[in-house]
């Protein structure tokens, strides 16, 4: 896999089918629905619980705004990922072009996905720091690989942004 900036785009080339599939999973992985811990992580309280009025107002006014913000980011990413759909050569390596102006949406969606997966599987610090674990083994191993792969992509986009 190669990542480089070309004019107004970030180009991810030499994407093998496995990594392409992991990318396709970003929007679904970023959805915290049905997992309380993931919901709690994405929508964490703004203050200590003793600040009841503040926390109540936050839930009422700020949380819906944050939901919209996160949803817009994942929708943008889902649209970009349509490039990976409908090819006849399903086993061939693919190219994904991310418009430069979508970089923030990608950073957000990748972060949402990483946080949701990590919350669902309750990964320890040691596991999150283990970048060499094989994705083959269990669903947990695959999810950990997914978190690290998305982190790697974030780093690449950040490098281009920076």
């Amino acid at each position: 896999m190669e990542i480089r900036r070309c004019n107004d785009e970030i180009e991810i080339s030499e994407l093998d089918p496995f990594l392409a599939e992991l990318l396709r999973q970003i929007p679904a992985s970023a959805d915290p629905k049905g997992t309380t811990v993931a919901e709690q992580r994405l929508f964490s309280p703004p203050a200590h619980e003793t600040e009841t009025d503040l926390c109540k107002e936050w839930k009422l006014y700020v949380e819906p705004e944050l939901r919209r913000l996160f949803q817009t980011a994942t929708e943008t990413v889902a649209t970009d990922l349509q490039q990976l759909n409908g090819s006849e050569k399903t086993l061939a390596n693919r190219v994904l072009r991310i418009p430069w102006k979508h970089a923030d949406a990608w950073l957000s969606a990748l972060n949402q996905a990483r946080l949701v997966i990590a919350a669902k599987y309750n990964f320890s610090d040691a596991e999150l720091g283990d970048h060499f674990r094989s994705p083959i083994g269990s669903r947990r191993d695959l999810s950990l690989f997914q978190v690290n792969f998305y982190g790697f992509l974030q780093e690449c986009i950040l490098r281009e942004v920076g």
Binding site: L42, F43, S44, P45, P46, A47, H48, E51, L54, E57, W58, L60, Y61, V62, E65, L66, L69, L107, S108, N111, Q112, R114, L115, A118, F123, D125, L128, V147, G151, Q154, E155, L158, R159, V161, G162
Partner: protein, 126 residues
């Protein structure tokens, strides 16, 4: 959530306006009045005098260090070195106070930080 600042700094300035300049009155030989000095009264709301609020970012093993640094630069406009210092404080000490001041602004900062998915809270300074 975002409310207008409650700061009520009312400046009451009372100035006596002369219809004619003082010089003209001397010329006429009439009585003159010394201009009353402007009285400026500033009132501050109770909240203004309150303790400042702190914006605190807490450690999170998932968020990348480079990402957190970028967020601090964007939200607070900190230079890279300062943003990195705060990021490292979060990483090593578990939390870092990023900003302190008025509550409304602190709320806004926390909202922005949550928008970037950082674990951030505000609390009153001890």
């Amino acid at each position: 959530m975002s409310r207008m600042p409650r700061r009520e700094c009312s400046r009451v300035a009372q100035k006596k306006q002369f219809k004619e300049p003082i010089g003209a009155l001397w010329e006429k030989g009439g009585a003159t009045t010394i201009e009353r000095p402007a009285i400026e009264k500033e009132t501050r709301s109770k909240e203004d005098l309150d303790l400042p609020w702190l914006v605190i970012v807490h450690n999170d093993p998932v968020n990348l260090m480079s990402y957190v640094t970028m967020v601090f630069q964007r939200v607070f406009g900190y230079p890279r070195e300062k943003a990195e210092r705060h990021m490292l404080e979060v990483h090593h000490k578990g939390r870092s106070v990023l900003w302190s001041g008025m509550r409304e602004r602190a709320e806004l900062y926390v909202q922005q930080l949550h928008g970037y998915l950082l674990l951030a809270t505000l609390e009153k300074a001890a």
